[in-house]
């Protein structure tokens, strides 16, 4: 295995990768790991989205990478600046789990599914197709996104590694 150039994406963070680098984010629970890919230019982007909407933000300035509705436009800007074309972009998603099944589900406990819904809505606004996703469930995921192949590899404790 060739040593790959790994670009770490933290929690509520986003980044792009080109020239064979691999984007990685660890320990996705209810957060969503969203990836965008331009297969022609081999430009990859990843965002670790924590919350569905920036409407509730009480921080200034807000961290754009944290919210689904701000992270996706920001990631798009960064990728287009790097030479990607909006029309060619394809999206993949993983995460959005519900780590603890609690009785009396309040809305804040449904944060995982809401993150997925919000990302999906945002992508459709930009007419970016979601080619595959592995979301929901009640387990954590670590993901790696290869900027050469556009493959998203997902690792979890119970289910091992799979590629989508």
């Amino acid at each position: 295995m060739i040593q790959q150039n790994l670009v770490k994406v933290g929690m509520a963070d986003l980044n792009i990768a080109t020239e064979g680098a691999v984007l990685k984010t660890t320990g996705l629970g209810s957060c969503v790991g969203l990836t965008l890919y331009d297969p022609h230019r081999k430009i990859a982007g990843m965002a670790h989205v924590m919350l569905p909407s920036s409407d509730i933000a009480r921080e200034t300035p807000i961290n754009l990478a944290k919210y689904a509705d701000t992270a996706i436009p920001e990631l798009l800007d960064r990728m287009i600046a790097a030479g990607a074309y909006l029309e060619r972009l394809k999206a993949k998603m993983a995460g959005g789990a519900q780590m603890f099944a609690m009785s009396g589900q309040s809305d804040s406990l449904r944060i995982g599914p809401r993150n997925v819904e919000s990302c999906t809505a945002m992508l459709s606004r930009f007419k970016i197709p979601i080619v595959s996703q592995d979301t929901g469930g009640s387990f954590g995921r670590t993901i790696e996104f290869d900027s050469v192949s556009g493959m998203l590899s997902i690792r979890s404790v119970q289910f091992g590694t799979k590629e989508i």
Binding site: G10, M11, A12, D13, T26, G27, L28, G29, S30, C31, M50, L51, I56, A57, R58, E59, T60, N63, K66, A97, M99, F100, A101, M102, S103, G104, S108, I111, S138, F139, G140, R141, T142, V157
Partner: protein, 206 residues
Amino acid sequence: MNLFSRFEAFELDVLKEVGNIGAGNAATALSRLLDKPVDMAVPKVSLLPFEEVADRVGGSEQIVIAVYLRVEGEAPGNMFFIIEEESGKRILRQLLSMYTEEPNGYSEMELSALCEIGNILAGSYLSSLADFTHLAMAPSVPAIAVDMAGAILSYGLMQYGEMGDSALLIETTFLEDHQSLEGHFFLIPDPESFDKIFRSLGVVGE
């Protein structure tokens, strides 16, 4: 909005004492359960970037057993009782003479037993805290998960997500001697709860 930059050193000390009293009682409860001495480290109160919270228990991808309780009442928050994967088996053996049926992973019965242990300990943590502060606090029904620490702990940080990129947590580690059974308590009060905790203890800011 930066809630925490204004915390004074003595206010952090107050929170440390909160952790000390709560975890002290929980450690006593655990010691009685196991009939063995249990030591406790000095509590740490820290404002940690989200990214670093999971590092406290071995990193984002470290597999841990976590019992989670939502604290409800006048000073709401999230509470986690976290132990290493192997420590869970050791507790079950010592406490209930439950011997592992499955070498990898945990059976439903084992998880249920661990969840109840977490519940007892968290309950004693909270009830001593409620006595100390005179604030009504009650734990929710506990939930248990065996998974990556990052995925689990991020669940307790959501309330902080809307106000910044770090969370204030009160952490206490305890050790059972010789066997090196290590456990962690994390109390992550909701951002709005701090004022109430301070006021109830007579520490009035501004």
